[in-house]
């Protein structure tokens, strides 16, 4: 099929994709954050939960400010433009709180602020607006690492169930923590098959390293990529828009979440991916993919970067005996462990735990083993197995008479295959991009 090689411009986006695919009613809903949130909740799609809604001044006056969570929340207008009017609190002590910018607000000031939002101070053409308070997102540790300030988000453009292109937007000092490219946030292209960043763009220039986090900008593997893609496709399907830009974040506890939906997604994403949206859209036009699940499969096979062929998706095959590196505070120790799929949990030697200084936790667990049934002490353990960081609860037992000081149980062996025929490899395999998390 002949497809256009030209870049997708505004003329083509508006006339060929937005107009025929996005109904006015769906567009109106996407422009209204509160209506979008209700739609997402109705479809059981994860989104930061709603703590309060304000439709009238009466709602603000009657609101009990002490019920707001102490660890922070976000106040937003339903139809704000370009992030205007959003207040993010990092803490709230009943009647006063501090925003992320360090300003202090009393409940009185906050309610006056919400009155302004209802008056339409931040909505288009000063039209009266609604306001709401939602739970704060605690970014996944991965995103905290790559962006010390602000909230990194992932924009996926989805066209009739098929994710077509994606980018990660990393806030910087310059963008004041906002994931807005115009204000100086970084955009990275993402390989659709693996979720690995391909390159990074900062003010239309390609950069090798992220300026704030000082790490390489390409080759970063975004966690939960498959889940993110599926969530984006399901959100587009639920939104009623045929052509949508879905903004996602990954919460530390709740995983991937939908932040907002855009009916007129920006086109700079093409620069970050060095790919034409028009080419990709024409390739999947009229494909009639029935479900988001199928759409994700199509996207992963059609829109893979060439480097993704080098990435192994197959589970890592390991021998039974393999070195693991245990870390506790500043102590690091590498020992040879037995990868035992016959055991449910990981267990380590009492002496070893003591040498490392890991405190035993209060809870004991009930264990059935070859040596009988018993209650065992446990420790919170973090170790690395061929570069993958695993955090688990391990039982502690005297293994001094055993050959290996540690057994890695099957709960901690997800994504690995154990092959008894395989001999232990020399050293660690560093060539594996798939498992790298930096």
């Amino acid at each position: 099929m002949a497809v256009s090689k030209t870049v997708l411009g505004m003329n083509a986006r508006n006339f060929l994709y937005i107009r025929p695919n996005n109904k006015p009613s769906a567009k109106r809903r996407a422009d209204d954050k509160l209506a979008t949130k209700k739609m997402l909740l109705a479809h059981d799609l994860p989104t930061p939960s709603l703590l309060a809604t304000f439709y009238t001044g009466q709602d603000v006056r009657k609101f009990d400010w002490t019920q707001l969570p102490k660890d922070g929340f976000a106040v937003k207008p339903a139809r704000g433009y370009g992030g205007g009017g959003i207040l993010v609190f990092k803490n709230w002590e009943g009647l006063t709180g501090t925003t992320v910018n360090g300003e202090t607000y009393t409940s009185k000031q906050l309610s006056s602020n919400i009155f302004d939002l209802l008056d339409g101070a931040f909505s288009l053409q000063y039209l009266p607006d609604k306001a709401f308070i939602e739970r704060l997102i605690a970014p996944h540790s991965f995103f905290k690492k790559i962006a010390p300030v602000g909230l990194t988000d992932i924009r996926v453009i989805v066209f009739h169930n098929i994710p077509v292109m994606a980018m990660m937007r990393i806030p910087t000092q310059q963008s004041e923590g906002k994931a807005n490219l115009q204000q100086g946030a970084i955009a990275t292209g993402i390989d659709m098959r693996t979720g690995i960043t391909s390159r990074a763009l900062f003010h239309n220039n390609f950069i090798k390293r992220l300026p704030d986090a000082k790490i390489k900008a390409s080759g970063i593997k975004i966690p939960d990529w498959d889940k993110l893609l599926l969530l984006a496709a399901r959100t587009q399907e639920a939104s009623g828009l045929g052509f949508a830009g879905v903004d996602l974040v990954v919460d530390a506890q709740k995983g991937p979440m939908v932040l907002e939906i855009n009916s007129r997604p920006g086109l700079k994403i093409q620069n970050a991916n060095l790919a034409s949206l028009r080419t990709r859209l024409e390739r999947v036009e009229g494909m009639d993919v029935p479900t988001p699940e199928r759409g994700v499969e199509v996207a992963k096979s059609l829109f893979a970067e060439s480097f993704s062929e080098k990435v192994k998706i197959v589970p890592k095959i390991l021998p039974v005996i393999y070195p693991v590196t245990i870390k506790y505070k500043d102590r690091i120790i590498t020992i040879t462990a037995k990868l035992d799929t016959g055991a449910y949990r990981t267990s380590i030697d009492t002496e070893l735990a003591k040498t490392l200084g890991i405190p035993f936790s209060e809870d004991k667990i009930y264990v059935k083993s070859a040596s009988g049934r018993a209650y065992r002490s446990t420790v919170q353990l973090t170790f690395e197995l061929t570069g993958k960081k695993i955090t688990t609860v391990s039982s502690v037992v005297d293994r001094s008479y055993m050959k290996y000081q540690m057994i890695v149980g099957r709960v901690d062996l997800k994504g690995f295959l154990i092959d008894p025929d395989l001999e232990q490899e020399e050293g660690e395999d560093l060539s594996d991009i798939e498992e790298r998390e930096e």
Partner: protein, 295 residues
């Protein structure tokens, strides 16, 4: 679409004979107007100002004489439009008004091509066109002085009214109050210090400028500063460009004598309306993809 092309091409061929009338016609507009009481305004400005008001009876006669050069020998396929214009002028429609009305879609097409081909968007379609006409009515310097006065005063009033807790419409009425007082002051100052001629200024250009400044204010709220300034700059540029076109005697004469030219706008707008390639500014915006080649 091809049908329109053929139609226009035919029309153009039909009237492609060079005509001396246009040049003579242009001379008409260049003849000096009766002397006005203020000496400060330039001769050019006076002729330009005349364009927005109906012409005098004797001028109308000249217009009709010139139009008769084409509207002779009975109405036929070739010259039915000049006939129509003569009919309208004889019936009492001012020739100046006809010219300006015929030129409006030209200005609109220029605004359209700036947006869809070049990528510079002004405020909507109507605002730049209205600005051109306003500038034509007031003259370029007074027009900009008034616009600046209205814009500054409305920004100022908005800044003050932001702190006052009242509903939106009363706020806008108060804003208009501040602007009105300010404009009266500016007009008085202009009359006293002879900055520009205020004797012939009507309320309608001021009203148009008020609407324009209201749209600019809304822009300041919706967009970031850079985007707003660019949009304003483009709007002013389009307004001035339109003003220049409208004030060219040759252009006005040509349109009045060859009204068929407006049919050319049909295929042009259809073509622009189906142009799905990149705008000129987008070639810069998407430089990385274009340079590296898309996969």
């Amino acid at each position: 679409m091809r049908f329109f092309f053929l139609l226009t091409l035919l029309l153009l061929l039909a009237f492609s004979k060079p005509h001396v009338a246009a040049a003579q016609f242009a001379d008409l507009y260049a003849t000096p107007a009766p002397p006005s009481p203020t000496a400060s305004a330039s001769a050019k400005e006076k002729t330009v100002k005349q364009v927005t008001v109906p012409e005098a009876e004797q001028e109308k006669k000249v217009v009709l004489d010139l139009l008769n050069q084409r509207a002779t020998g009975g109405a036929n396929f070739k010259n039915f439009l000049p006939y129509a214009v003569v009919y309208a002028v004889k019936a009492g429609v001012p020739a100046n008004t006809i010219t300006l009305i015929l030129l409006l879609p030209f200005l609109a097409t220029i605004v359209v091509s700036f947006r869809y081909l070049i990528g510079f968007s002004g405020i909507g379609l109507l605002v730049p066109v209205a600005l051109s006409i306003t500038l034509l009515a007031t003259g370029i310097t007074p027009g900009f002085i008034l616009l600046a006065a209205i814009l500054l005063s409305s920004l100022f009033s908005r800044f003050i009214l932001k702190r006052i807790r009242i509903m939106q419409m009363p706020k806008m009425a108060l804003s208009m109050f501040v602007v009105s007082v300010f404009v009266v002051c500016i007009l008085t100052a202009s009359a006293v210090f002879g900055i520009f001629d205020v004797t012939s200024l009507s309320i309608f250009p001021i009203l148009l400028l008020l609407i324009l400044s209201d749209r600019i204010n809304a822009l300041f709220m919706e967009r970031d500063l850079q985007e707003t300034l660019l949009t304003i700059a483009v709007t002013l540029l389009l307004g001035v460009l339109g003003f220049v076109i409208l004030s060219l005697d040759e252009v006005r004469a040509f349109v009045l004598l060859y009204p068929e030219i407006i049919f050319l706008l049909i295929p042009i707008n259809i073509l622009i309306g189906r142009y799905f390639g990149l705008r000129v500014t987008e070639y810069i915006k998407f430089q990385p993809v274009i340079k590296h080649g898309s996969k």
